[in-house]
């Protein structure tokens, strides 16, 4: 048996109770009522059909699908003694033997700036966090750009929402966006963990009784049928400002929903892309298209690989001095 301290048990049952109280409104919300609300205020709920074989073959003739994903891993201890590696992969369903990899690394040590101020400020941390996001987003977008040129695909599925590229890799992203629009390549973001609160915010606006903001993830849990999709009206979509159209899809039997972003200029294709995602997602999975899962698996930098790389290609003395933490030596 595990020995668990009573205090911790209390804390957790306390949390359960708090959530129960806070979300009473949401949890007690009738499924039909919420669906009506969504239909009226957010967007139409549509039932999607999977793409037919001939449709898929047509996509293949037009260049197939490219999946883009990135991954990062970190060795070392606390700031600034760590190295983070980034890797992006663009993989076409047609040119399966030509995976397109890009990589980058980051360590505060090499930047030189934080060296003088060992005490970390909050802004410093955020700045570092930003740097990481910038590096990762940039190589992902670069990989996508290269993929466009090399594979000339029908559509590109990016892993994650598109909005973050606006934030972290603006210039490159604009470049990609322009090329895609020019060449008529559909650019889509598939969001595993939706973080928006579009429905919640709308609920709050409409009903005074609701004083807290709820996330879409919480609200939509179990509310859509398998294969159903909500295309969010432009009016309520906050991403609209950045030039995207969005939707939610329940793409598998798991009760959670996933999100989809598409360029505004290509919004007529959002339904087709949603159907593509539905087609490529195993029914009993967590809801992610298999192709993106495969790309994700291939791009992943495992701890073993990271460690192996460091040991193989880095001077052992430097490696020990800078990047081996006490924690690493525990086992």
């Amino acid at each position: 048996m595990y020995s668990v301290h009573d205090k911790l048990k209390e804390k957790i049952s306390g949390l359960s109770l708090t959530l129960q109280e806070k979300y009473e409104v949401v949890l007690s919300l009738d499924k039909e009522t919420l669906r009506e609300f969504i239909e009226e205020e957010i967007g139409k709920i549509k039932t999607l059909e999977k793409l037919s074989k001939s449709h898929l073959e047509a996509c293949q003739k037009k260049g197939g699908i490219v999946g883009v994903d990135g991954s990062n891993n970190r060795v070392g201890g606390a700031h600034p003694h760590f190295v983070e590696a980034y890797q992006a992969l663009a993989k076409s369903t047609i040119y399966k033997d030509e995976p397109l990899f890009l990589a980058d690394i980051y360590t505060p040590l090499a930047e030189g700036e934080s060296l003088n101020s060992p005490i970390e400020k909050k802004e410093d941390l955020e700045e570092i966090e930003d740097k990481k996001n910038i590096k990762l987003s940039t190589i992902e977008v670069e990989a996508a750009i290269e993929a466009v040129e090399r594979f000339k695909p029908y559509a590109i599925l990016m892993d994650g929402g598109l909005i973050r590229y606006n934030i972290y890799a603006k210039a490159k992203w604009e470049e990609l966006r322009t090329i895609c629009e020019e060449k008529d390549i559909i650019l889509v973001g598939v969001i595993k963990d939706i973080k928006t609160s579009i429905i919640g915010d709308r609920l709050r606006e409409k009903y005074e009784a609701i004083d807290a903001s709820f996330y879409d993830r919480e609200l939509l849990f179990g509310k859509l049928q398998y294969g159903e999709m909500i295309i969010i009206n432009e009016m309520v979509n906050k991403k609209g400002i950045e030039g995207y159209s969005s939707g939610f899809i329940r793409s598998s039997l798991a009760p959670t929903v996933i999100g989809i972003d598409i360029l505004d200029s290509q919004k007529t294709s959002i339904e087709e892309m949603a159907r593509l995602i539905l087609t490529l997602t195993p029914q009993t999975s967590r809801g992610i298209p298999l192709w993106l899962d495969m790309v994700d698996k291939e791009v992943k930098i495992s701890d073993a690989i990271m460690k192996g790389l460091m040991e193989r290609y880095m001077d052992r003395g430097l490696y020990e001095r800078f990047f081996i933490s006490e924690r690493d030596k525990r086992d």
Binding site: C59, I65, T93, L290, D293
Partner: protein
């Protein structure tokens, strides 16, 4: 194909994107830092990193894979093939990862595959999974045999397995193991056919009456006639023991094989058996002694002598008295009775009515002598026979060594199925001691053993240890697999395959080669007399009987109800078979049921008529 992963001096992993590996095939590793290395595939696997059931716990369903195919991505193409290759000889250094791999040419593997020429060796079958190397094989090894597969007779595509007979001199004995239906008896048959081809003097102990080589199977176009090369002899009918030649030790063995002898009985034989005794003289002595002992004391016997009617009887009783006086003290009545009973049992089985001359002549002629009888009789007889022949051969060799003249006796091979009955583990049996002796020193005298059994676990361990070459067919029993694992150089992977071997597939663990060959026994040129399915046989016999009856009555049809008695009498006259009206009617009704004739109702009652 390349070497991948961590390598050692003994084993490497080989990966390929397009060629699937087969177990037991040979590969050449072109290591840039040492000479080409040759290895054997011991494990073969395929792997698809996307299909191994799931990615992050998600089951991938077929429709998604199908959709991806439509999009131009075929998941099967991401399958890779991996094999574990064991080097035949240890390398000097661990093999360089990344080394290229290629298939060997025949010339590169000839030495390790072919042990002997076709003329001098035993052509027993093929080495499995060698068809790639067999393409440029020397002509003399091509098309020399057929194998028998599910679809029938198949021409040879692989390298033949030719067992080197001459190496028997160093590695003399052979074991043939396998469960029932594994192809063991059939493998033994092929070995014996080859021994006949080579005119090797051979004795086969055949408790199943199956080692007859006169019938050829239907599937063969060219028939081979072995009739001059072998002879089936039944113990007690064609061959037996010449009582006059027996020494007291032989006799004790025989009696013991008949039924276990007590110490006291052994003693009785020592005392009562005289050299040059005939069966009659020995049996008489025993009988008269028991009769005297039955009288109880010397006075009663003397009374018998006095009261006997004629001189003959008197003389007989005087003889009994003499025996009684000489032996009563040393030979207890019960022991004498026991010996007499055992002796009679052997006599009734016909063991003493013939001799072994015919076997000796056959061996001198280089023939295969098949001795048939039930297991117990064979045990009894083989004990005597093998002792006798082995010592003949031994005397000859010893005489040569001592430089004195002696009659030539050839080297020979002893073959037996169900060997665990002849040399059981854990308890003594008369045939075991001679087999053990031969297993240990037969090599010196050129006497070799081929022992087949489905229960290697029950075979005497000393003997098992002396079996240098082992043919291992499908084995399912865990205890036998364990024994095989202990007694052979089969790897763990190979023993794991044992329960799943196809009939006729065999692991040959050979001391000459120092490794295990995975082979398939060739199609036999002859067939066992027991191949007719008993249910087919039953059907056939019933039909023969029915046809016979129909023939007999055919002329007499139609038979009216009232004519049954007449018909029965006619049948008795024609065929000598007696029917009652009732039994005839029963038979006729059966014929109706089987559709030979019809039964119809008429105004005069019913009648049987032709269809």
């Amino acid at each position: 194909m390349k070497v991948v992963g961590i390598t050692t001096q003994q084993e490497v992993f080989v990966g390929s994107k397009d060629r699937n590996f087969r177990i037991n095939e040979f590969l050449i590793i072109e290591d840039p830092y040492q000479d080409d290395l040759i290895g054997e595939v011991v494990e073969a696997q395929t792997f698809n990193r996307y299909i191994p059931l799931n990615i992050y716990g998600d089951m991938v369903d077929a429709s998604v894979i199908e959709s991806l195919k439509s999009l131009g991505y075929n998941i099967d193409e991401d399958t890779i093939y991996i094999s574990k290759v064991r080097l035949l000889n240890e390398a000097l250094y661990p093999v360089q990862t990344g080394s290229d791999i290629r298939l060997p040419k025949f010339s590169e593997v000839k030495e390790i595959m072919i042990q002997s020429t076709r003329e001098e060796g035993l052509v027993l079958g093929v080495i499995r999974n060698t068809d790639d190397m067999a393409l440029d094989m020397d002509e003399e090894f091509k098309d020399i045999l057929y194998t028998f597969e599910e679809r029938g007779l198949v021409p040879q595509k692989e390298i033949p397995y030719i067992m080197d007979l001459r190496s028997q001199h160093h590695y003399p004995h052979i074991g043939v193991f396998g469960g029932s239906g594994s192809g063991k008896s059939f493998g033994l048959r092929v070995i014996l056919e080859e021994l006949m081809n080579q005119n090797i003097p051979t004795i086969v102990l055949d408790p199943h009456f199956e080692m007859d080589f006169s019938e050829t199977p239907d599937y063969l176009k060219e028939k081979k006639d072995f009739n001059d090369s072998f002879k089936c002899l039944q113990v007690g009918v064609h061959i037996g023991v010449k009582f006059e030649d027996l020494k007291s030790g032989d006799l004790k063995n025989l009696l013991d094989a008949s039924s276990h002898l007590t110490d006291s009985m052994n003693n009785v034989v020592d005392i009562l058996f005289k050299p040059r005794d005939s069966y009659i003289s020995f049996a008489d002595r025993l009988r008269m002694l028991t009769e005297a002992q039955e009288e109880g004391n010397i006075e009663k016997i003397e009374n018998r002598i006095i009261s006997s009617g004629d001189a003959e009887e008197k003389k007989a009783w005087e003889k009994r008295k003499e025996l009684f006086l000489n032996y009563d003290k040393t030979c207890p009545y019960n022991s004498v009775r026991g010996i007499l009973w055992r002796l009679k049992r052997l006599e009734n089985e016909g063991i003493f009515s013939k001799d072994i001359k015919e076997i000796e002549i056959g061996l001198q002629d280089g023939k295969l002598m098949v001795l048939q009888g039930n297991t117990r009789i064979l045990q009894v007889f083989s004990t005597y026979l093998l002792n006798n022949l082995y010592h003949k051969r031994r005397e000859y060799k010893d005489a040569i060594y001592k430089k004195i003249a002696a009659e030539y006796f050839p080297p020979f091979i002893i073959v037996t199925d169900e060997a665990h009955n002849f040399a059981p583990k854990g308890y003594d049996s008369p045939s075991k001691s001679i087999l053990k002796e031969i297993s240990q020193e037969g090599r010196k005298y050129g006497v070799f053993l081929i022992l087949a059994t489905q229960r290697p676990t029950l075979l005497d361990e000393t003997i098992t240890a002396q079996l240098n070459t082992k043919f291992i067919f499908r084995t399912v029993r865990a205890s036998d697999i364990k024994t095989i694992q202990e007694e052979t150089d089969l790897t763990v992977e190979e023993t794991r395959r044992l329960p799943y071997l196809r009939t006729g597939d065999v692991f040959i663990s050979s001391a000459t080669l120092g490794r295990t060959v995975y082979g398939r026994i060739r199609a036999a040129l002859t067939t066992s007399p027991h191949t007719l399915n008993p249910f087919d046989e039953l059907k056939l016999k019933t039909k023969q009987k029915d046809d016979g009856l129909f023939n007999d009555i055919k002329e007499k049809l139609p038979i009216n109800e009232g004519d049954l008695l007449d018909t029965a009498m006619e049948l008795e006259r024609d065929t000598g078979i007696t029917y009652t009206i009732q039994s005839l009617e029963e038979k006729l009704n059966q014929m109706v049921q089987k559709g030979y004739i019809e039964k119809e109702d008429t105004i005069f009652g019913y009648r049987y008529k032709n269809k």
